[in-house]
Symmetry: C2
Subunit: 111 residues, 2 copies
Amino acid sequence: MGITKKDLFTSQQNELASLAKAFAHPARIAIIDYLLKSETCINGDLVQELGLAQATISQHLRELRDAGILKGSIEGSSICYCLDPTRWKEVESQFNNLFSRLSEPAKGDCC
Amino acid sequence: MGITKKDLFTSQQNELASLAKAFAHPARIAIIDYLLKSETCINGDLVQELGLAQATISQHLRELRDAGILKGSIEGSSICYCLDPTRWKEVESQFNNLFSRLSEPAKGDCC
DNA sequence: TTGTATTATTGCAATATTACGATAAAAATA
DNA sequence: TATTTTTATCGTAATATTGCAATAATACAA
């Protein structure tokens, strides 16, 4: 087994889970942190910054790119990555939609 | 390999990643959805609802419990699970802290 | 062209996750 | 007590993820 049964769930549930997965590794959080901080758009001094092998960073970048969170543009012989603000807002509201759904008062409260 | 190098990252980064991981499976999103919707606190009619085996549901519940998102209390022969509102707010603000850090204008903008 | 710098991809090895059947444990009921 | 109900845990199989060295692939410089 080990294969997620996506067909059992709604596309919304699958999408949110898949988004969360993009954030579910500290290296990817660190990459995002770096991009949030740094003025310049950035390439692979992430390798210096994070202490992971170049191949590993590249792999994490790809996952963030696949989730749409990053965009990269070729800048000479290096590649310039940055966050996609439009997508960022989208992602933010997807999570907020979830978080805002807790209607405070402890309802049937057994806990 | 296959082991995440947590020592390379800050505890904040590790914590957020670990939180995201709790949300990174559609079955766990579905469980949360169910708990957000349902008045009653709930046990394992999640098995009916989700179509996964009882053991699998139990495993997902445990991960959510370990992340602190759920609390369970023994209610006779069944167990009553519900979201922990305090923790929920905490989790919400952890994510919001991240999301709010994007300072709009495309800065050095190479992308 | 030849070399250098930068990033992606490929091909592993180690570990983690997902899923489920079988079984155990605890409480309610007959 | 014996049975049923409910949930957790164990063991196992299948798949996914993480990480890296080696190797492409691309652009620039000499």
